[in-house]
Amino acid sequence: MTDRGSGRASGIDADRLTHEAWSEAVREGDLRGQRCGDCDAVQGTPKAACPHCGSTALETVELSTEGVVYTETTVNVPPLGVDERGYQVAVVDLGDARLMARLEGERAEIGDRVVLSGYDEDDDGYVTPRFERQ
């Protein structure tokens, strides 16, 4: 049993990738993920434990900023808060992990090579990577 009287936040690991650190990296043009020390799976977004094996031994890793389109769609009926239509959203395969992101510029198909080209920020300040065809 852990020492609960200390007020120590036992579920927090100071080194573990957080949404804040992930977002800061996106703003700086970098992509961060997590590699599981037990099953070796890599995730593109931060978690407290590996979703595949449950291990908490997660190492923060740098992800490639280049990849290929795994799947994509063009959204013509946007949600409130998005003031455009006909924008492309994709799942990009970065090799180790995948990420959902906006695609900008020339329309990309499944299998096309894309590269990180910036980021978008929504009304609440949440960021998402933006890719373009290579």
Partner: protein, 388 residues
């Protein structure tokens, strides 16, 4: 031995209603009670589903509100929200409670209002539906729910050669079935040509690939296996499987296999001591035509990769080898989110009793329902069968 049995079932028409949620739920609940011959005072607990009343109408804590409305104040009531799998999850918990002896007679159901009557336009409702996507890692891309299933479906098309025309066949089939269902949102047939001419919502989905925004409610009365024989027309619950998957979807191993559905189906078939081949028909979660294709494969009803071809060839038609969505499905019957899961079970009950009228699947003795939530990260699969 059954895990539990459904002895009463009813639903409102799915469509556009201008009544408060408790009145919609009241219609379905009192109908299910009357169908079972059970009085409100005999019900021991309510397992209730509503997905988005807080967002659409600033209406939460609906469990006691609807229980009070239908004469059941006092009993334990719990509200579930698991996106579009909301009321199937309520049902699963109810089955466990009845099987475990916690309760003998319970009411399970759900209600939702999604049409403009709640005062929200398409953009607002699209944002509310998108709340099931990951807030930090998906919503900021502007992804919508048609978009999520478009991502799955485009990959399936890429890997298996599924076509837009095949998707249109799913819509045509389900509208044809819905036209025979007096409770369906849409009563009109459509054609492949018409479907392929609609405006694109999120490619490859056109308007006719997408289920409507619906209002409605559904309810079933669930009793223990021991009690079931004292009712007129019990239908057995053979198995209920429930599994989840990784969110966000980019972290799923192969997103379009909808692994949670495969896991939940395996559980349900095993509990019911059956397999996909033993199903006489299926109600699946066709929020979009592509979702039906994926579900038909995940449930093992159609070979992997062949879901689109099967629809186009009529294998999933009402007179095909494995009828899918004889009710019209979400596509034509409608999709009042929190009412959809138990709505599927109303159809299974009706068909397995032989009461489905024009859309009856002749001789149906065993069927499966598949209700998913979000990007299929919650899936509940239920096997029901004629009481032996």
């Amino acid at each position: 031995m059954a895990r539990a049995a459904v002895v009463g079932a009813d639903m409102t028409r799915f469509g556009v209603h201008d009544r408060p949620m408790q009145e919609l739920f009241g219609e379905a609940a009192l109908g299910a009670l009357a169908d079972a011959g059970v009085e409100p005072g005999e019900v021991e607990a309510l397992y209730f589903g509503n997905a988005m009343g807080g967002q659409t109408e600033n209406d939460t804590h609906l469990g006691p509100k609807v229980a009070s409305h239908v004469g059941m104040a006092g009993i334990p009531v719990q509200r579930y929200e698991d996106a579009c799998a909301t009321s199937a999850n309520a049902f699963k918990n109810a089955v466990e409670a009845v099987e475990g002896g916690v309760h003998d007679v319970v009411l399970v159901g759900g209600v939702e209002r999604c049409t403009p009557g709640v005062g929200k336009d398409t953009a607002e409702m699209t944002r509310i539906f998108a709340s099931a996507s990951h807030r930090q890692y998906e919503q900021p891309t502007g992804i919508t729910f048609p978009g999520v299933f478009a991502l799955f479906t485009k990959r399936h098309m890429h890997e298996h050669g599924t076509t837009e025309e095949q998707l249109a066949h799913v819509a045509v089939k389900n509208h044809g079935n819905g036209a025979l269902n007096p409770k369906a949102h849409f009563g009109k047939q459509t054609t492949v040509e018409e479907a392929l001419e609609g405006p694109i919502v999120a490619d490859p989905f056109r308007l006719m690939d997408c289920c409507p925004f619906s209002d409605g409610a559904s309810a079933v009365i669930l009793v223990s296996d021991d009690l079931a024989d004292s009712f007129d027309a019990p239908v057995d619950v053979g198995g209920v499987g429930h599994a989840t998957d990784v969110v966000p979807l980019a972290d799923k191993e192969v997103p379009h296999v909808t692994q949670a559905a495969r896991d939940a189906a395996a559980q349900a078939y095993e509990q019911a001591d059956t397999s996909a081949g033993g199903m006489d028909f299926a109600e699946v979660h066709d929020c979009f035509t592509g979702a039906e294709v994926l579900a038909s494969e995940a449930l093992g009803l159609i070979e992997d990769g062949q879901g689109g071809f099967a629809a186009a060839e009529g294998r999933t038609a009402r007179d095909g080898e494995i009828p899918i969505n004889p009710s019209g499905g979400l596509k034509a019957k409608g999709h009042p989110i929190g009412a959809t899961g138990t709505g599927q079970l109303v159809e299974l009950t009706t068909q397995l009793r032989g009461d489905a009228g024009e859309r009856q699947i002749d001789g149906a003795e065993r069927a499966v329902a598949h209700n998913l939530g979000g990007d299929a990260a919650t899936t509940v699969v239920t096997v029901m069968e004629v009481r032996g």
